[in-house]
Symmetry: C3
Subunit: 266 residues, 3 copies
């Protein structure tokens, strides 16, 4: 068994031991799921978006999670303020560029966020990562082919730009930081049939980054736990409704034995 | 077996084949359910409400779904803008006048929305449909009795006004457009014990209108699928909690055989 | 069997008989859960927060429930307006000071709300109740120890200030009004692993206050029903996902026999 599986086991037990406060400024669609997933895995969620209180909230939290799913101007302002404060406080920042590329407003907002502070981790699917890199305004000639190689190249460019970790979600997840590349093979296609599981993955990245300063390792552990919980849930599910329920149960109950029996590596 | 059941089977398979993008500007309470129901039935939800991006979002989507459940002024402005753009782009617009009649603000907002563009489909319960017609400011002497006949008359008047389809939900659903009337007998009273299932019905109307240009037929197919999924769910449920879960599973799994075995007609 | 259990049985049957309209101005995270819990127990939820319509909504409702979980300035303004109107209309007001003490903005907002009208019931955990008392600006030397005695003293001070009922949630719930003290021993620790169950408790307090003018008794009945539903759910659950589902089913199905068999008293 590889050493990497020990990272997952150790990091999960740290989340449960320290129950880190995770400050989320996220979208309306997934707030409830995200909070429940964080509770289930052992962390403590805070949802707060008012300009007047985001600085107080990140101050008492271990990590800031920013998700642009249902953006509007007041929320962008709060995100900028919270990211600047998190950077000053040296707290990790995790960014989910939901729907990047789908509108000019979303791309412009992403640029503003990237100009506010450098995310420790950015997690998205391949097209969101590509659009985030383009939105940064600091790159030219982004290659838009659909190949895995192209996605990895894009992710590494974004990682170079932010000096942080980039997670590209998909059938296989890639965790990139310019030097190390982690692959995560766990997961199940049913996870794409439930809204907001990408957002949940991002929030879990936050919980793990709060207790593990090697952020690429934190992202790796989070994505493995996520994928294994998905596989455990799928075994008991008759569709996306029951999947959601079993997924939360699995995040809550997943233990060392489960990780050892489900973990996949090439 | 009537021809109408074939509409349902064909339209459901078209939703699953084309997986239409459904742009929702909807209420906070139901965003998560709505997105999950759309995913479960085979469509692709977009939730976006910022004035700055609604035009971009409807441009890439197949249909616009407007729901006034938790209205405030910035959202009304975004709804007006999105509806105008959808009309220019000749995309269908589906409107859910949640709580019409409950406040002056809601009625005034409905008038503004109806003045922005004509919905292809309006779906509500009988009192919401009545209040929508009154709110339009283009009718007098609306009859407020509780009879089915009165509800149908109101629905047909609203249909005449919008030149679109009107769906009146209830124990029996009526789909009206001035000429054809469809009745839907499927469904279960437990559906009124789960928040937002009316909103889910509206969103499904949107998914079906994106793939079926005969909007009354699209509404009919959507309401039958909704009702059958409700009956399938109820069989396995011990209350509204488990009903919700089984309902999503049923939307995901409902197939031609289920439709044939559950479909009811007078 | 004590008389108090009869309060619970009678009040629950009144909620189901009258299905009171409960006007909630609450947070984004829990809106869906709260609405579903109110429907499951037999009440009728309204979620509406626009400044333009909160007065209309409380006018048609039996009770106002205010929850500060995801506060921002426009929502505080609407809460103030709704509370003033509720006081004029002599409708009960139930306040949930979620996260009180976590930010200056939250504390300042609480002071504004307490200055707008006196809540009939305030429900929070011990630290929220303490922070609410401090925020009122009308107390000095609040004792911040963690003892139960200290929490009760704080609750009674807050009750004296508002001339209302104060519910302190915890392993044991305390319902205080300066003279009577009710204790609720029902409940299960799994309830802390699901987001928003405190908010659900507050909303149930609202439903019961709408049909029971003795607000301390109403709070007691609501908290017992809540706790018993939690215990019933836990018996069938494998984690927080399935717990949520069974909890809604239990709120829907809990009956006199369940209450008699689960109710605990010292």
């Amino acid at each position: 068994m590889s050493k990497k599986i020990d990272f997952v086991i150790e990091d999960l037990s740290l989340v449960r031991k320290h129950s880190p406060l995770v400050h989320n400024i996220t979208n309306y669609v997934v707030m409830n799921n995200t909070a429940n997933a964080l509770l289930a895995v052992g962390a403590s969620p805070i949802m707060a978006h008012a300009l007047e209180e985001v600085e107080d909230m990140i101050t008492i939290s271990g990590v800031l999670v920013i998700n642009i799913g249902t953006l509007s101007e007041p929320w962008v302002l709060a995100m900028e303020k919270a990211m600047k404060k998190a950077e000053i406080l040296k707290k990790p920042i995790v960014l989910d560029p939901v729907g990047a590329g789908a509108s000019k407003f979303r791309n412009d907002s992403l640029k503003r966020l990237l100009d506010s502070a450098s995310p420790s981790i950015i997690r998205g699917n391949a097209s969101e990562i590509l659009a985030t890199l383009s939105s940064s305004g600091k790159t030219k000639g982004v290659d838009a082919t659909d190949s895995v190689e192209s996605a990895i190249e894009t992710g590494n460019k974004l990682s170079e730009l932010t000096q942080g970790t980039v997670v590209i979600s998909g059938a296989t997840d890639y965790i990139l930081n310019g030097s190390t590349t982690y692959k995560v093979l766990n997961g199940h296609p049913m996870m794409t049939k439930v809204t907001g599981l990408g957002c949940t993955a991002t929030a879990l990245n936050g919980a793990f980054a709060a207790i593990q300063k090697d952020y690429s390792r934190a992202a790796f552990s989070a994505m493995v736990v996520m994928g294994i919980a998905g596989e455990m849930a799928q075994k008991k599910s008759a569709g996306p409704g029951s999947f959601q329920m079993h997924f939360l149960d699995a995040l809550y109950s997943v233990n060392e034995n489960d990780i050892k029996s489900y973990y996949k590596e090439e």
